[in-house]
Symmetry: C2
Subunit: 310 residues, 2 copies
Amino acid sequence: MSSRADAPIGVFDSGVGGLTVARAILDQLPGEQLRYVGDTAHGPYGPLPIAEARRHTLAVTDQLVADGVKLLVIACNTASAACLRDARERYDVPVVEVIVPAVRRAVATTRNGRIGVIGTLGTIRSRAYEDAFAAAPDVRVTSVACPRFAEFVERGNTSGRQVLGLAQSYLEPLQRADVDTLVLGCTHYPLLTGVLQIVMGDGVTLVSSAEETAKDVFRVLTELDLLRGSLAEPAHEFLATGPAEPFTRLARRFLGPELGAVLGSPARAFSLDEPQPAPPDVATGSRYGPSLSGSVNGSTPAAAATPHER
Amino acid sequence: MSSRADAPIGVFDSGVGGLTVARAILDQLPGEQLRYVGDTAHGPYGPLPIAEARRHTLAVTDQLVADGVKLLVIACNTASAACLRDARERYDVPVVEVIVPAVRRAVATTRNGRIGVIGTLGTIRSRAYEDAFAAAPDVRVTSVACPRFAEFVERGNTSGRQVLGLAQSYLEPLQRADVDTLVLGCTHYPLLTGVLQIVMGDGVTLVSSAEETAKDVFRVLTELDLLRGSLAEPAHEFLATGPAEPFTRLARRFLGPELGAVLGSPARAFSLDEPQPAPPDVATGSRYGPSLSGSVNGSTPAAAATPHER
């Protein structure tokens, strides 16, 4: 295994959204090391002119490549729309972005050939998704900019009446277009799948560009024999071009819960030979521990009342 | 908002796998509190007889419900197969499990009506997925037990030749059956999507029971008006019926990367008015900071070499 394979994967985003991509990569590839840069000094890119998003992106990705990453992930839809081709031409490491993987998945998924795309203003205005769908002429693409979604996600406001109403108004054109597949064309949106699925209905399949991009990273590293071989515990770096706060606070939200203390039972031998678990009130020791299943009473703690029907 | 709505969501699994469900729930509902119990004293349930898995499960879920959770998630396919109906009858809180949500999604996704299911021995032997697909008589279901996958995931061995070979041999009957949709019927398997997608090919859509279950939790809490209203920072509990180690070590892997220290730049005003970013070697201050984009040189750091083609 070459030392190149042991180099980190570079992940770029305009802010914290790309952390959904970073996390999906580490889900699949827990032995890899990441160097993540969020360009919070200039992001969010959504409202910026393409040329400006491009300059900001290349400034950071130039540095990532110069620092020796083995693969570059442009984990931002707006930046991918702005400069994928520049990045491919510019760097001698493989470049993975977020648009093509999601488009490939959407084309493989749709049944009626009607696909919706939601994203930032910058992404939708760039028509980058329409371009990426060009090879599937039978597909009808309907794109809608959802400029306020990212802000709702960053506030943690992803359930309840307000975001539901917002989603209903944004997604109405997609429902009218009868799409059966919806591409989440912004790395913030995997944190909105609950509300998006409710509004679009069960018949619509959501495609996460974060998850599909991670699969692409997996595939490229496998094909190029660039999987990290080192057995040393991987170390990740998270960098922001702006102040460490509020990046840190938001990033925790995007990376998901941290474990904290775990309450466990002491290890011991245990055999289960009674048909009924004990009711909770006779439990001794750790309430959830092996001792619970061993003591017996026979009554069931909660009588059947209002079983939940779906 | 009632105090019932402020109660935690109970999440049960035989071990750490249900943490992929827990994480997906908190992605959608960052304001909710979780009480997670992994029955590591008796898990994994995969190889157990159904009756035994049922007794172990109910012993823990009785306690969770007695402790006042507002909704119970059976975040384990084997446990869901063993005792969904018991749990529905037994408890006066809504119960969400992992099989029905994934089946609903798979039926909405398939184009050729051929769906594959992979899971533990216990899950596959129970034929719980076949039962859940009963309402879709045109669907042909092919189920395959993949007993060693969970152990590979827990070792972090999810890429490279060994797991690829294992996946190729497990999935061969599903390829022969020409499935276009594959249900990941075990909460460990979302950490295998990279290798599963490579082996099954791009034309196959993977359905994660973790993600679909989280959407179901979102839907049920929304419909029943049980979303947490408290603005206090949510606190989660992670419990194991066995020793805290190795649950803790594995759980970190399943919950994904933690942030650690973030390297940021001091906040300052910055205007971008030069077309070319500086090459890395003239960067001053924070390498990725705003100062980088402000200094100008005009050369591109890496000449076009071997652009990556897909």
